[in-house]
Structures are given as structure tokens and as C-alpha cells.
């Protein structure tokens, strides 16, 4: 207890120095007296995440590596903003720029590297920067502005990340690269070409095989552009040099340590002075220097053991995998890129923008290059590191672990056994790209115990929910016997803004006069003044359903699709679907649609599953004009975006079909004419088939009619989608009038009883088919009352929203356009 502790001084608070401190206190807590000194004014941060900070996608705080609590807890002294200036190896003392004198027993140099500045004419101009630290990010933010041109010299990992960051801030970026394709050290020409295309789609131009000649002055000492050796001039208000790094060895060299390209170290990270070790980008080991983080972390482990006097393997260079940290552009590369004695297997899916190449030598995986779908990357990398003979695996290897692995053992619970057999890098949630390892790490690391918590922390199963079963199985697997049973609350709270459930809210609203959703929140004691995107649309619907004539509908309480009466697409454009009653159209309508497609440069026209035509890729600001022109040709909104009546699908029925028994098309048109425009808890689809062959697929609709010789079979509660559910038979009737009466009663019962965002299938499973039958079939009075309420509501609903919006579009449809910068500026 009383033996004096070793004073360990770490110079450099970058990734390597910080990780060493973390490893050391984990390995031998309290054993050493640790001082960490960094020249940068910031707390240690994750340098790998600089690009997202530059792009404005992450805060500087979010990438912090050590918090104050950690430093306090472990008694680590951290000195920020002070640089070591000299080492007295005899006295074992370091002096700093701020005049500090720091004595040490063991010294660790983690001085990192310096970005290389090309000695081009004009390299000292204002606006010429490197991309290395948070200070560089601040400089770039101060000098860059959206729409202005920027040039990045260097198309390697760092250069592309800098380019992506600047493009994220709206700058027009050109990457100038010496080699024939970008990231040539990690990618073959084909993947490099795909990457350049993807960057181009994000507004980043790449100029390859280009040599820089001079940086041009705008006359005031600021950069104006880059001149290439072939005479081309690229304009630039900001020029980033990202051509490589050079180990920072000045301090070591001045102290007389042995230095080659970097500080020379042995496999225990010792330098030529036994009291001094070094790690990170500043060292040279076995003729190699290091620029990626994985070997740095390996070094930190080895050195921590050495400092703590623990046995263990020395440092050895292992193959390293590279990933490009640019969101939405996925690149993975490890090992060899190929060569004369290598066999190559490639898989290319141009349509999905996916490419993978395996390099095989002596029946062992020796390299992998992936572009696009890189989820299997870590599995390939592991296969490569194992270096086992591939044998029969070779034939299936390219398809990844799902096909390469053999059949799994079966346990008591098949779902759990299946999920247990998956590799950690297997994607569980396809919507949000979450892998098994991420989920299990979050469950263990954050102490998650419920599906909702896993959804909040990892996004797994938070979108479509089709992987909920797998996520639940993973929870069970991780928690073992302690997995809680999913509590099936009778009426769970709508969201965290309230403790009230859907049914409770509805009941309370029934006693209140007409008001808007936000007013209702105040009355019902909401915890947030304006709710959230879950509860506000629900309240808006409940109020609209209860008070159809009162005008309580608030567009700002609706999801964008229902606010702008079109479906938002992944790129922010919209799709427009005009109504085609019962699936019927005409030459006039088709001609008008064709003209509109030409007039507004609409990129994609598609026939939908609901027998209508979808115009995809319409710009938001063009929507009012597109609607106006569709209205002029007699077409109205198809409500393809609505929680409400979508389509009535029909077959041609007895009018044309030799098997048709009734006029299914005519009946479908009648049903659609009565019910269109109705808002409901969720989307609602109908179909009428003219015979039991069921060409209109009525048995997977919310309300279906199957015509037979003797009348009409009515079916309800079907849907396609994530959980396919066939309909339940409701009843059979003999006339069209009865079909319509029951249809309207069924819709109104659904409108008044189901919870918001609950489709008819789960609603019927929750309340039971018998109850539905009792209300809309058996109880004539109830049926007629429901029908009357529906028709009363419909007198306010059968209004084309396009016509009113086209006549007076709201301000949100108008963009504010900033003109190009004036040349003089």
C-alpha cells in the first residue's frame, strides 16, 4: 500500500494515448499515477468521427472519448492545451510549452502524426487547410459556406471523408486524386468506380489521375482555386490537403531516441530508452508505420500489459479491415486486392449498386473488397484471419454466412435456436440495418429488458416490426430465465406524452365539445404541450371522427403525406396517384396523365397494386400544378397516402368475363363513390370479385365482396403486408343494396372502435369476429345507425383535397431559392 506508485506520463491525448490510459486503468486500477497531456485544447475525442462532425451530423461532445467522471474516478491527471517541448532523459523530466516540469518514472510517447502539406505554390494562402483535428473542422466551418466550391486534394480514406463532410454542409466539392481511381490502396478499380459514382450522386466530383500544380490567389491572400498540371483550373474557396500523414517524431529525435520513419519500437513498444515507450501513428515497427485505428488499439493493449508488468503476447501486425465512414456509402476492404497468383470470385448486382470480390490464395481467403451491401464484411474478415483451408466452402463463400454456414442445431425453442446460430454480424432489422451483435451488445451494455427499450436504443424492429420475433428471441437469449413476459396491457399508453391509452382518450373525448388536438391535450393533462408525432395525429383523427362537421382537422397535426396529399419518397420527392374508380380509366385520362408526365418531367410512372397509376418523383413545389392539371382532366386524389379509403379493386365481372356472375366492376365503382375521402384509423382497401376465382383478391382486403350466382359473399379483416391474413367470412347477402348497407356499417364501426394505426385485421383479432357480426349483421338497428352516421360524416368528406390546395397552396409548397453567388464576391 505504501510503496510509491509509478508515475506514468503519456504525451499525446489522441486515439492511441487515450486508449492506453483506458487499458491501463482497466488492467491495474490505482496501480499507477497517470498524467495525460495533450496539445489540443479539447478533451480526448474520437478522431474517426470528424467527418460526421464536419457534416453537422454529430456534435463535438458526442464523439468525446473520456468524460470528467472517468478521469476523477481513476485519478488520472489530464492536461489539455499544453504541448511537451523537451525530454530530459537523465533527470526523467518533461518540459512543456506552458512551462510545466513533469517528472516521470515511465514515459509514453503517443505524439501521433502530422498531416502532409504539399509544397505547392500558394500552400500558405488563407483557406488552405488540412483535416486532422477539431480545430481543422472549426476552420473549415468558418471559411466554408453552402454552395461555394471546395477542393480536396487526396482521394484516400481521409480525403473522401473530408469531402463528404463538406458536401454535408452544402459545399460543392471536387476531389483531386493522383491515382487512377479513389481509395486505390483498399479498392480495386471496379469498386473504386462505383464509389466515385455514389459520391457523384452526393454532389462530390472526382478528378482522378490528376496532378496539382499550383494553388491560386484571389488577390487578397485567400485561395481562389487549384491549377492542375494539365492546365485545368478548379475554383475553390476552401482547399483541403488530405494526402497522407507523417509520424510526429520531433520530440523523440531531439531527445536522442532511435528514429527511422517513425520512433523505432520493439514488440513491447519499447524505444531505445528502457524508460520510454511509444505507440500509435508516431511509431515504426518492423519497417511499418500505422494509420488505422485497429493496430493502435492492439498496441495499447500490449503496452498496458507491459507497463503493468503483466505477461502476454507482444505486438504483431495483423491484417486490418477498412471501412469508409461516409453515411450511405458503404465500402469494406481487407487484405490483398488480388494479383497474378490469386484467384478471384466476384459477385456484382449493378441494379442494387452492390459488388463484392474475394481473393483466394492456396485455398485460403486472402482478401475481400465489398461495395454497397457490406453487412457480411466482418464475417469474411474473420474467415480471412482464421486462414483455414476453404475446401467445399469455396463454392458458397461469396454468398456470405447465411449460405456458407451449415444447418444449425435445434433446441427447445426453434426461434431462439435459429437466432442463437446467427453470427454477430448478421443483419436482424432490414429497415434500420441493425446486426445481431449490436442488439446483444445493447441488451447487455445498457441493461435493456423489453422490446420497446431495444427499439429505442438500437432502432431494431422499430420500423416495420417484422423482425420483432427475432428481437424478442434475442432478448430471451441474452436475459436467460430473467426475460420478462411481454405485458399485454389492455389499453397501453399512446406514447410517453400521456398515461392514457387510445380507448381511454376516445372515451374522454366523447364527453368534450369539438376542439383541436392541441387544445384537447391541454384538457386531458398531456405532459407535453404539443404532443409528439405519435399522439397528435391520433387525437386529430379521434376528434375528426367524433366531430366531422366542426372543422377541427389540423394539417399540422398530420403526417406529411396527409398534409400535402401525396406520398413522400426516400429522396424527399412525392408520388401522386389519381383516383380511378373501380380501376377504370379512359383515353382522356391516360392522355392527360401522359401530358402531365412530360410537362413536369416526372421520372417514373408505375401501375400500382390497387389498379391505378402512380406518378413517382414529383417535386413538392410542383404538386399544386400537377393536381391542377389532373383536376382539369376530371381526376381527383386517390388518397393513396391516406389512413382512409384507398382503392376498390375489381375484376371485369359479368360485363365481360365468361365466368362472371355479377357486375363486380359496377358494384366496386358504387362502393368507391360512396366511401371515398373517408378518414379511418388506418388504410382501408376493398375489392369486388365477380366469381369465386377471385381475380380481385378480395380475400386479403379489409372489406371484400365475392360474387356468386345466388348473391354476394362478404368477407372482412384481410391484409397482405408484413403479416399476411386472409379474411374472415362475415355474411352472405342477395342484393347490391344489402352489400352497401353492411359495408358502410362495417366501415363506421371500424372508424369508431379501432385504435389509431390499427388495421382491421388486428382490430378484429382483438375484439373478435363475433362482436363485428353482432353489430353490423345481426343488430339491424345498430347497423342502420352506423350507416347513417357514416353517410352524415361523408357529406363533409367527399371533397377533393387537391382542388382546394391547388387553388390556394400553403406556404410550405413554395421554396426560397438563393441565387448563385455573384461573381464579384
Amino acid at each position: 500500500m505504501n510503496t510509491p506508485r509509478d508515475r506514468i506520463l503519456v504525451i499525446g491525448a489522441g486515439m492511441a494515448g487515450t486508449r492506453l490510459v483506458q487499458e491501463l486503468v482497466a488492467l491495474a486500477p490505482g496501480a499507477c499515477d497517470i498524467t495525460l497531456i495533450g496539445a489540443e485544447p479539447h478533451a480526448p475525442y474520437d478522431r474517426i468521427m470528424l467527418s460526421p462532425v464536419l457534416a453537422g451530423e454529430k456534435t463535438a461532445e458526442a464523439i468525446r472519448l473520456l468524460d470528467d467522471d472517468f478521469l476523477d474516478r481513476h485519478g488520472v491527471t489530464f492536461l489539455a492545451g499544453d504541448a511537451a517541448t523537451g525530454i530530459d532523459r537523465v533527470a526523467r523530466r518533461v518540459t512543456t510549452a506552458a512551462g510545466r516540469q513533469l517528472d516521470y518514472d515511465r514515459l509514453v510517447l503517443a505524439t501521433g502524426s502530422q498531416p502532409i502539406r504539399l509544397p505547392l505554390p500558394g500552400a500558405a494562402l488563407k483557406g488552405v487547410v488540412t483535416f486532422r483535428d477539431l480545430g481543422d473542422v472549426d476552420t473549415m466551418l468558418a471559411l466554408g459556406r453552402p454552395g461555394a466550391p471546395a477542393v480536396v486534394i487526396g482521394g484516400g480514406l481521409l480525403g473522401l471523408e473530408a469531402a463528404a463532410g463538406l458536401a454535408g454542409r452544402g459545399m460543392k466539392v471536387t476531389v483531386v486524386h493522383l491515382a487512377g481511381h479513389v481509395m486505390e490502396r483498399q479498392l480495386d478499380a471496379e469498386a473504386g468506380g462505383m464509389l466515385a459514382d455514389a459520391l457523384a450522386a452526393r454532389g462530390i466530383t472526382t478528378v482522378t489521375a490528376a496532378n496539382s500544380r499550383a494553388i491560386l490567389d484571389d488577390g487578397t491572400g485567400r485561395v481562389a482555386g487549384l491549377e492542375l498540371a494539365d492546365g485545368r483550373v478548379l475554383p475553390a474557396e476552401l482547399l483541403v490537403m488530405a494526402v497522407g500523414i507523417r509520424p510526429e517524431t520531433g520530440l523523440a529525435r531531439a531527445a536522442g531516441l532511435e528514429v527511422g520513419r517513425g520512433i523505432l519500437v520493439d514488440d513491447r513498444l519499447g524505444t531505445s530508452d528502457p524508460a520510454i515507450a511509444a505507440l500509435g501513428e508516431c511509431v515504426e515497427f518492423d519497417g511499418q508505420c500505422f494509420g488505422l485505428v485497429a493496430p493502435l488499439y492492439d498496441q495499447a493493449k500490449v503496452l498496458a500489459r507491459a507497463l503493468a508488468g503483466r505477461p502476454g503476447d507482444g505486438f504483431a501486425v495483423r491484417p486490418t479491415a477498412t471501412r469508409l465512414k461516409v453515411s450511405g456509402v458503404d465500402v469494406f476492404s481487407a487484405g490483398s486486392l488480388g494479383g497474378a497468383d490469386a484467384e478471384e470470385i466476384t459477385l456484382r448486382d449493378a441494379a442494387r449498386g452492390s459488388y463484392r470480390k474475394l481473393v483466394i490464395r492456396n485455398d485460403r481467403l486472402d482478401g475481400v473488397v465489398m461495395y454497397g451491401d457490406v453487412a457480411d464484411g466482418p464475417w469474411f474478415f474473420e474467415t480471412m484471419r482464421k486462414a483455414e483451408p476453404l475446401g467445399a466452402l469455396r463454392d458458397r463463400l461469396i454468398f456470405g454466412p447465411a449460405f456458407a454456414a451449415g444447418p444449425s442445431a435445434t433446441g427447445a425453442d426453434a426461434a431462439t435456436a435459429a437466432v442463437a446460430a446467427l453470427a454477430d454480424d448478421t443483419e436482424i432489422c432490414g429497415c434500420n440495418g441493425v446486426c445481431k451483435g449490436t442488439i446483444t451488445a445493447a441488451i447487455a451494455g445498457q441493461g435493456l429488458t423489453s422490446l420497446d427499450e431495444v427499439r429505442a436504443h438500437t432502432k431494431a424492429s422499430a420500423s416495420c416490426g417484422s423482425c420483432s420475433g427475432q428481437v424478442k428471441a434475442l432478448l430471451g437469449l441474452c436475459l436467460g430465465g430473467s426475460a420478462p413476459a411481454e405485458a399485454e396491457d389492455a389499453d397501453p399508453a399512446i406514447c410517453s406524452c400521456t398515461d392514457l391509452g387510445h380507448d381511454a382518450v376516445r372515451a374522454r373525448l366523447g364527453d368534450l365539445p369539438a376542439m383541436t388536438a392541441i387544445q384537447a391535450m391541454a384538457v386531458l393533462g398531456w405532459k407535453t404541450p404539443e404532443g409528439c408525432s405519435k399522439c397528435r395525429p391520433a387525437l386529430n383523427y379521434y376528434l375528426l371522427c367524433a366531430h366531422p362537421a366542426a372543422g377541427v382537422d389540423d394539417p399540422a397535426s398530420r403526417f406529411v403525406n396527409e398534409r400535402v396529399h401525396a406520398n413522400i419518397q426516400k429522396d424527399g420527392t412525392f408520388s401522386v396517384v389519381p383516383r380511378m374508380w373501380g380501376g377504370l380509366t379512359s383515353a382522356t385520362e391516360l392522355r392527360a396523365i401522359a401530358d402531365i408526365v412530360d410537362r413536369y418531367d416526372i421520372p417514373t410512372v408505375k401501375v400500382t397494386g390497387g389498379q391505378r397509376i402512380d406518378l413517382l418523383g414529383v417535386r413538392k413545389q410542383d404538386l399544386p400544378a400537377v393536381w391542377r392539371d389532373l383536376n382539369a382532366a376530371g381526376m381527383v386524389s386517390g388518397h393513396a397516402y391516406a389512413k382512409g379509403l384507398r382503392t376498390v379493386k375489381t375484376c371485369v365481372g359479368s360485363e365481360w368475363c365468361r365466368f362472371g356472375t355479377q357486375d363486380s366492376t359496377g358494384l366496386g365503382v358504387k362502393l368507391e363513390r360512396i366511401t371515398w375521402g373517408a378518414w379511418m384509423p388506418h388504410k382501408f382497401k376493398m375489392a369486388v370479385s365477380g366469381c369465386p376465382r377471385n381475380c380481385a383478391e378480395a380475400t386479403i382486403k379489409d372489406f371484400g365482396v365475392i360474387c356468386v350466382d345466388s348473391g354476394y359473399e362478404l368477407v372482412v379483416g384481410g391484409n397482405g403486408g408484413i403479416h399476411l391474413r386472409g379474411t374472415d367470412p362475415l355474411t352472405k347477402v342477395s342484393t347490391e343494396a344489402e352489400v352497401i348497407e353492411i359495408c358502410l356499417a362495417f366501415i363506421q364501426f371500424y372508424r369508431e372502435d379501432a385504435r389509431y394505426l390499427e388495421r382491421t385485421a388486428p382490430w378484429i383479432e382483438r375484439i373478435g369476429l363475433d362482436r363485428v357480426k353482432a353489430v353490423v349483421v345481426t343488430d339491424t338497428a345498430a347497423r342502420q345507425a352506423l350507416g347513417a352516421r357514416f353517410l352524415a360524416s361523408q357529406t363533409h368528406a367527399r371533397v377533393d383535397p387537391w382542388a382546394s390546395l391547388a387553388a390556394a397552396p400553403g406556404a410550405e409548397f413554395a421554396t426560397i431559392d438563393v441565387p448563385a453567388r455573384r461573381a464579384a464576391e
Binding site: A62, G170, M171, A462, E530, G572, Q621, A814, D817, V818
Partner: protein
Amino acid sequence: MTILADMTAVPGDGTDWIDCGTLDDLPLRGARVIRHQGGSIALFRPAEGPPAAIANACPHKGGPLADGLVHGRAVTCPLHGRVFSLDDGRAAAPDRDCVARYPVTVSAEGRVLVRLRPLSPAAPAGAGLIAEAAE
């Protein structure tokens, strides 16, 4: 339908502030999009407090935040539901992303002005709202 914005001479260095009309030109609990070369900015008008401007692209999948549902001084991305504060640009926990913020001021004449130069991610929560016309 577009409106060409005026570059205005106030405040600051006279090149980056753009005039986005009056408060009434912005939809209540909604937003308008400012398009500039290379990207776009979402200018919001929440019911409480001053207008706010953030990058019109969710860092998750690039969703247009201007089309999101505005609740309090936050917006929910229309594509996958990530929630961002209009004041500090940060995603609601447990997400740790953030979006770039742009300074906004309302001039003495009632014009809403937005500066094209983004704030540093480290700037404090209220830094985007500039009370006076002088910097």
C-alpha cells in the same frame, strides 16, 4: 413554385444573410425550404419562440426535416421518425446524431433573416437565435 430570395446587407458581413419574408410567410408549426447551391435548409416556425433553421437532411437517411411534424421546439423526421431539437440540433435520446444549425434573426422591419454559414456543432443551444442585428 419558387420565390427568389434577396441577399441582404444586414447583419454581419453582408453576403450570407438571406431574406425569407415575414413570419406570416411561414406556415405555423411547419417549415419552408431554403434551397442554396448544394443543399437545402429547413426554416421552421414553431408555435412558441422564434423561428429556427437547421439543415434539411436527417443524418440517418437524408430525410427532409422541413416535411416533419413540428411539436414544441422539435421536429420528427418524416422518413423514419428521428426527433431533433430546433434549438440545439440534437437528436432526442438515445440517438446521438445532430444536424447543422443556421443563425436566424428577425429584423426591426419584421423580416426573417437566415445566415447561410452554419454554426459550429459546439455552439450552445440558443446560439442560432441572434437577437440584435449586429453580431
